[in-house]
C-alpha cells in the first residue's frame, strides 16, 4: 500500500484531513504527534477559536512553528497557553463534559473502534509490548473521538488483541452497558479515507474516500468487512495552503516524515 505521492506524505494527508474535521469554537483534547499537529493546523487555518488541551495539563495551547514538543508533557506545550493544570485535573475536564472532541493516533483498531496500544498477541505472553494507554483510555471513555492512523491490514483488525481505549466494545449498546454513557468513536481518519460508525450496530463504516482511492483498495487493506455509507464522499486533496501551513509548523518533519 502506498499513498505517498509526490505532493505529500501519508502523515501529511492524515494531518490535513483530520484538521478539516475540527470546527471553530470546539474544545479538542489532542494527543502528541499527528493530532497535536492537526489541531494546531486547524487553529491556524479555519478554526482560530479552537481550544486545544493536552494531557500534560495545558488548556488553550498555542504551539509555535518549528517547536513541536516530543510529548504533550513538555514545557513547549505550555508556552503561551491560557492555563496549565495538573495532569489529573486536565483529564477530569473530560469527565466533567468540557471537551467536544478527543483526538489521538492509534496502533491497532477494530471494527467497533476499539483501540489497542498495549499488547500485540496474548497479553500474558505478548509478541510486542506497546507503550500503553497514557490518557488514551480516559479520553476514549469520556468524549467523542477522532482517531488518525495509517491504514494497514494488520492495524485494522476484526477484534483488537487488547482493548486499551474503548470504542463501541462489542457494538450495539455494549459501550453504554459497560458504564460509558457519554462519548464514543466519531471518526477514524486514515490515508485511504474517512470512517464513521453505523448508528445501530456501531460497526465501522466508510464515509469518504480520499481522491484516487477505491473502495476495493480500502477493503483490501482492512482486516474486517467494512460497511459503506449510502452516500460516499470523495475528499478534496490537501491544498497548497494547507500543506504550506503544515510544513511551516513542522519544518523538521518530526511528525510528518
Amino acid at each position: 500500500m502506498t499513498t505517498r505521492t509526490a505532493d505529500h506524505t501519508a502523515s501529511e494527508l492524515l494531518a490535513v484531513m483530520s484538521a478539516r474535521l475540527l470546527r471553530d469554537g470546539q474544545v479538542v483534547f489532542a494527543g502528541v504527534g499527528v493530532p497535536l499537529l492537526a489541531a494546531t493546523l486547524a487553529q491556524r487555518l479555519h478554526a482560530p477559536g479552537l481550544t486545544i488541551l493536552f494531557e500534560g495539563g495545558v488548556v488553550g495551547a498555542f504551539i509555535e512553528p518549528g517547536k513541536l514538543p516530543p510529548s504533550t508533557n513538555e514545557q513547549r506545550c505550555a508556552r503561551r497557553a491560557n492555563m496549565v493544570l495538573g495532569s489529573t485535573d486536565v483529564l477530569l475536564l473530560l469527565q466533567r463534559g468540557y471537551i467536544d472532541i478527543g483526538f489521538m493516533g492509534g496502533a491497532q483498531i477494530d471494527q467497533y473502534g476499539n483501540l489497542n496500544s498495549s499488547f500485540i498477541g496474548d497479553p500474558d505472553h505478548p509478541v510486542t509490548r506497546l507503550p500503553g494507554t497514557g490518557g488514551g483510555n480516559d479520553i476514549a471513555s469520556l468524549t467523542q473521538m477522532i482517531v488518525a492512523m495509517k491504514h494497514e491490514k494488520r492495524r485494522f483488525v476484526k477484534r483488537v488483541d487488547f482493548v486499551t481505549s474503548p470504542g463501541f466494545l462489542s457494538g450495539a449498546e455494549s459501550r453504554r452497558e459497560a458504564g460509558l454513557t457519554t462519548g464514543g468513536m466519531y471518526r477514524v481518519v486514515t490515508d485511504l479515507g474517512i470512517f464513521g460508525f453505523e448508528e445501530r450496530s456501531k460497526r465501522m463504516q466508510l464515509v469518504a474516500l480520499h481522491s484516487g482511492i477505491t473502495t476495493e483498495q480500502v477493503q483490501t487493506n482492512t482486516g474486517f468487512e467494512l460497511l459503506i455509507a449510502a452516500e460516499l464522499a470523495i475528499t478534496e486533496p490537501p491544498s497548497e495552503k494547507e500543506l504550506k501551513a503544515l510544513r511551516h509548523l513542522d519544518p523538521d518533519r518530526l511528525y510528518t516524515a
Binding site: 516530543p70 513538555e74 514545557q75 489529573t88 469520556l142 454513557t181
Partner: protein, 317 residues
C-alpha cells in the same frame, strides 16, 4: 495495597513534621530509600524527572524498588536495566513518541524480567489523589469496559449508591517515598513549582516520605513573601537536595529544555543493541562519574547551555 487508615496515620505521625532544616547530599538522600520500597516518581515523560535522585539510587545499588510514575521515559529503562526496579506502574512507557517503542521496555517485559503494570493516566492520578486525601479509593468513569481494568484485580466496579450508574473505584496509592524535582524550595522543603505540575502535588501528599531535589535552595523569607506559590508544604518533606540541572537530560520548565542531542544519541545506541547499549550507557553516565557535577560535565557544557537557552525563552514573552 490499600493501607489501613490507622496505620497510614501512624506512619505520618511518626515523621518529624516540624519546621526544620533538612538539606543533605544526593547520597544521604539515597540512603533514605530502602530496597523493595515503593517509590513515586514526580514529573512526567521528559519533564521535571527527578533524574539526579534516580541516578543516585542506581549508583547506590538499590534493588527491587516498586516504582510508580504518571508517564515513564528512559529513566524507566535505566531503572529496569540496572535492576533498581523490576516493577513499574505507569500509564505509558517509552522514551518518547518520536523515538518509537522502547526496546528496553520490550526486552524486559516481553521476557518476564520485569513488569510494566498499566493503569490509565487518570487512574494513576486518582490513586495518588486518594492517597493524598487519606481516603481508600476514588470513583472515576473511565477504564470501564476496557481490558486494562480486567488485568487489575485491585479495581472495583460498583453501582453508584446515589445514582445507580456504574462507576470504577481505584484504590489509594501511598508510596513509601516520593522523589520530586522542583525549580526551587527552601531548606525546610517548602517547594515552588513553575509550569506543569503533573501529579506531583498529590504524589507529595500521598507518600510517606518525600525527597525533594531542587535547582536552587531559596530562603524561607522568599517563600513567605508569596505563600500562594508554595505547592508542597515543608511538613510533607523529609529531604532537600540542591541539584542543578537535576532533571538533565530531561527538562525543567522555565530553566532548561531536554538535551535532545544526548537523547537522540542514547536512542540510537539502544536501537543498535538494547542490552549492550543500555549497559554501556549506565557504565558511562551513571556508574562512571564521581559526582553529579562530573555527570553534567559528561553531558557537556555546550549541550547544557543550549538546553538552558531554549528553556529560559518562556520568560521572555
Amino acid at each position: 495495597m490499600t493501607p489501613d487508615y490507622a496505620e497510614l496515620c501512624h506512619r505520618t505521625h511518626e515523621r518529624d513534621r516540624s519546621l526544620r532544616e533538612k538539606v543533605m547530599s544526593l547520597d544521604e538522600a539515597a540512603a533514605l530509600v530502602a530496597d523493595n520500597a515503593s517509590v513515586g516518581i514526580g514529573g512526567s515523560t521528559l519533564s521535571r524527572t527527578p533524574m539526579a535522585m534516580i541516578w543516585a539510587l542506581i549508583r547506590a545499588g538499590r534493588k527491587d524498588l516498586f516504582c510508580a510514575r504518571s508517564i515513564t521515559s528512559n529513566e524507566g529503562e535505566l531503572l529496569f536495566a540496572s535492576g533498581a526496579s523490576r516493577h513499574l506502574l505507569t500509564s505509558w512507557f517509552s522514551q518518547g513518541i518520536v523515538w518509537g517503542v522502547s526496546r528496553i521496555m520490550r526486552l524486559y517485559t516481553e521476557t518476564g524480567r520485569a513488569r510494566f503494570e498499566e493503569w490509565s493516566h487518570m487512574a494513576v492520578g486518582l490513586r495518588f489523589r486518594a492517597g493524598a486525601m487519606g481516603v481508600p479509593f476514588l470513583p472515576m468513569r473511565s477504564m470501564m469496559g476496557s481490558d486494562i481494568a480486567h488485568r487489575l484485580p485491585e479495581t472495583r466496579l460498583i453501582d453508584c449508591p446515589f445514582t445507580g450508574a456504574k462507576l470504577m473505584l481505584v484504590p489509594a496509592l501511598n508510596p513509601d517515598v516520593a522523589l520530586i524535582h522542583v525549580q526551587r524550595c527552601d531548606a525546610y522543603g517548602n517547594a515552588q513549582i513553575d509550569g506543569l505540575p503533573f501529579m506531583d502535588l498529590d504524589l507529595a501528599m500521598a507518600a510517606n516520605r518525600v525527597i525533594l531535589t531542587t535547582e536552587r535552595i531559596v530562603s524561607n523569607n522568599k517563600i513567605r513573601r508569596a505563600p500562594d506559590q508554595t505547592k508542597i508544604p515543608f511538613m510533607a518533606v523529609d529531604a532537600v537536595v540542591e541539584a542543578p540541572f537535576g532533571s538533565a537530560p530531561h527538562e525543567c520548565y522555565g530553566i532548561y529544555e531536554p538535551c535532545f542531542e544526548h537523547l537522540d544519541a542514547y536512542a540510537a545506541q539502544i536501537r543498535r543493541d538494547p542490552e549492550e547499549g543500555v549497559r554501556a550507557y549506565l557504565e558511562r553516565y551513571v556508574y562512571g562519574p564521581k559526582s553529579w557535577a562530573e555527570y553534567l560535565d559528561l553531558l557537556g557544557l555546550r549541550e547544557l547551555l543550549d538546553a538552558r537557552r531554549r528553556g529560559t525563552s518562556i520568560h521572555d514573552d
